[in-house]
Amino acid sequence: MNATSQRSTSIDPNLRLSPHLVNNEHTLKTMFERCSDVIFRDVTLQGDTKLLLIYVDGMIDKDIIQSVILKPLMYEGIPQGIGPIDSIAQMCDQQLFAVLQTKKVNTFHDAADDILKGNLAILADGEASVLLTNVSQFEARSIEEPSTEASLRGTRESFTETLRTNTSMLRRIIVTPNLKMESFHIGKLTQTEVVLAYIEGIVSASMLDEIRSRVQQIDLQGVLESGYIEESIEDTNFSPFPQMLSSERPDVVSSGLMEGRVGILVSGSPIALIVPMTFWDGLQAPDDYYERFMYVTMNRWIRYLFALFAILFPSVYIALTTFHPEMVPPKLMLSITGLREQAPFPTVIEVFIMEFMFEGLREAGIRLPQQIGPLVSIVGALVIGQAAVQAGIISAPIVIVVSAAGISSFVIPRYRFGYPMRMLRFPLLVLSGIFGLFGTAIGMIAILSHLIHLSPLGTPYLQPVAPTRKSKVKNVFLRWPRQRADKS
């Protein structure tokens, strides 16, 4: 009845196998009814020993089954000389197969679980347990260049969907037994493996306990991406700012681990999470620590300024031109006025229209098939940029303001950290459209107080600037050479 929502509900989870192969086969076949990809293979060894192999087609390495398991059993029989083995059942019991990982389970529930994870199950007549050999092999994407976190300098590797590939990348970078990888299975239906990676001795134990208990409390049907985990364990869902750093780069995760943070890797997701995150992490690029410190310092300042620009420019423009034109230099004010002589909409509405169009273009650009990509840019540039201005529907300064602010939000190295900047622009627009600079100031105060209030996993979001950590605050604004930074 609930067969679709709960796996093997018809079977009691604790039901044990019986010594009779026929009974076991029947039960398992009932469990895997209408599962065309689950293969049952009967093997009879030397006329009398009956074996049953069960596996999921496409998830196991057939070569290994044939060469390591089937061939020796069928042609050479039970290996002799290592002591008396009477039956295949006994052989199963002693796990005498040339496969690395084998285990034995006694319940149907466990057996079915492992079969679905790509193990080969071997049942023998007369044996009330299942031997599971890990011969899983499935198609996986190979390691590619990071696509959303490109860097000029630094590794070209990025995580893949395969969890073990990802953990191996971390292991290759951090060579110490202190690098721990705690594993959890989350999701009733997906049983997704989630790994908490951290370096023992560096990570704060209380924070780790907190994360561990939060992960253990997750109650989800399925986990398809690390975003599920992020949403389930973050401190507050009601914040425009991301509280976990997400990265597809093993070097970024490793550097996080070495700073005493916890990495969360999720099977099936090439994006790892790093907790806790601070505001400044969102504005740092992966190659900040690879490039010469002077260039990086300059780039950081450019990013900080542009981040501020991205969030403030349209609303300050509205406030200045419509509320406080005395603050704009006279010549600039006159040319702005000259350009919007024929504008039919108030400035606020103009900015709103253009902001919506810009966000629409951005959203369209992400999901468009590559062949249609240029179309959007042509339509965007020509229709919205040029034609709207020439037709006198939108004034030219607005196009400049909105596109400048839009571009500045893309200067932020972490793409998802640009979202809060773009999103918060809208409430600020409303505020400054109603109250002028006063509204802008109120909006910024609200944003700042939210940022100060935010402390994911006990780490203040604006640290080390607020609260000020004197020794570290320098590193936010300057990237000092490493060996010198350590001394001072």
Binding site: T322, F323, P330, L334, G338, R340, P346, I434, G436, G439
Partner: protein, 378 residues
């Protein structure tokens, strides 16, 4: 959530109570970029405002129709500044906006009557710019100057400050007029221009206003006198001296870059003695005389001759101020106030009578730093 809502409501209320509700699109405003204050024959105040017409500026692609003028001048009479503003507003479809006023021109007639009773608005009105350049129109009305079309800029109002800059002066802003008018002993020296039908608007020195008599016009200084006066007041950044030298009356010019001034007050038997020393260093930019600046003797001759000539002119200016205008245009009273505050208290009430009798010693030291690319002339 309730808390957030409450905070938001409070913010809305506080915002509306501050009266910050003055949204006005730029194209609903008439930007006044210059203003002229005149007094008509019937002793009535006449304000002329130069108003920018943004459609005529730059953005040619927006306007399909023929090119418009860049500005328009609107004049109105009134009881005071803002009353005249009301009358001007009657002619305009956009509301007057005073915060971008670049220039305040005062007609000579107005200056003679005393202008201070009409200038309160400039300071009091929060929307009014106090960084406007102030000028007195010599021998004419502000109205005719403000209508002039300058060579480079679209508006005359924006050019007058840059003109003063180009002449090596610090532009004379309204706030400097305020400082001078509220100071202890300085009398405001306001730059003057003349509307010349052939040459446009020409800088013609400065006007002396008497702050003790309602900023009434006392007289004018010619451009050279103004230059020395500005030097003494620290308002001159650079200047070029040209003097005759030798028997054949050949000319030599020195472009002076770093101008320094020092006024020292010495009290002798409770009477102040004034020592003004002016220093300047520069480079010889033109030399038509047979003298060779690379020779020590010739150089000394040049420097002495230049200094002497300048000293002579400053002395004449001091004499003019002491005996013709009888007004302290050098800010000496201010120096006495600063250097000997205890004496100033007794001197201040009759400074007008004291000033013409003061012994003023002037010394000018001009030095060269760079003889130029060649030695003697061809």
């Amino acid at each position: 959530m309730k808390k957030i809502l409450l905070i938001f409501c409070l913010m809305l209320l506080s915002a509306s109570s501050t009266g910050c509700w003055n949204l006005k699109e730029p194209n609903q405003r008439a930007f006044i970029i210059g203003v002229g204050i005149d007094m008509t024959e019937d002793k009535e105040l006449e304000i002329s405002s130069e108003i920018a017409v943004p459609a005529g500026l730059g953005s040619s692609q927006v306007t399909g129709a023929g090119k418009k003028n860049t500005f328009t001048v609107v004049s109105a009479k009134g009881k005071d500044f803002m009353d005249a503003g009301q009358h001007m507003q009657a002619e305009l479809s956009r509301s007057l906006f005073y915060a971008h006023r670049q220039t305040i021109l005062i007609g000579q007639h107005m200056a003679e009557e005393g202008v201070d009773r009409y200038l309160d608005m400039v300071v009091r009105n929060p929307k009014s710019e106090i960084r406007s350049v102030v000028l007195v129109v010599k021998g004419g009305t502000a109205k005719e100057v403000i209508k002039a079309e300058p060579t480079f800029d679209p508006f005359i109002s924006t050019t007058l400050g840059s003109q003063q800059n180009a002449l090596g002066m610090k532009p004379y802003y309204f706030r400097m007029l305020l400082c001078d008018a509220y100071s202890e002993g300085t009398q405001p020296i306001v730059p003057a221009i003349t509307a010349d039908p052939a040459r446009g608007y020409v800088y013609t020195g400065s006007a002396i206003l008497n702050k003790d008599h309602g900023l009434k016009l006392v007289g004018f200084l010619d451009p050279e006198e103004s230059m020395y006066d500005n030097w003494m007041m620290g308002k001159q950044k650079k200047l070029t001296f040209t003097t005759q030298i030798g028997k054949e009356n050949k000319m030599i010019s020195l472009a002076v870059q770093s101008l320094k001034h020092r006024t020292h007050i010495k009290m002798v038997k409770n009477k102040p003695q004034i020592y003004i020393s002016l220093h300047g260093t520069g480079s010889i930019v033109e030399n038509n005389s047979p003298l060779d600046p690379s020779k020590d003797d010739d150089l000394k001759t040049i420097q002495t001759r230049l200094s002497q000539e300048a000293e002579e002119k400053v002395r004449k200016l001091v004499d003019k101020a002491q005996h013709q205008y009888k007004i302290d245009i050098f800010g000496i009273g201010e120096h006495v106030h600063r250097q000997h505050p205890e004496v100033w208290k007794t001197l201040k009430p009759h400074w007008h009578e004291t000033f013409p009798e003061l012994p003023i010693t002037v010394s000018v030291h001009l030095r060269y730093r760079d003889p130029g690319q060649t030695n003697s002339s061809l």
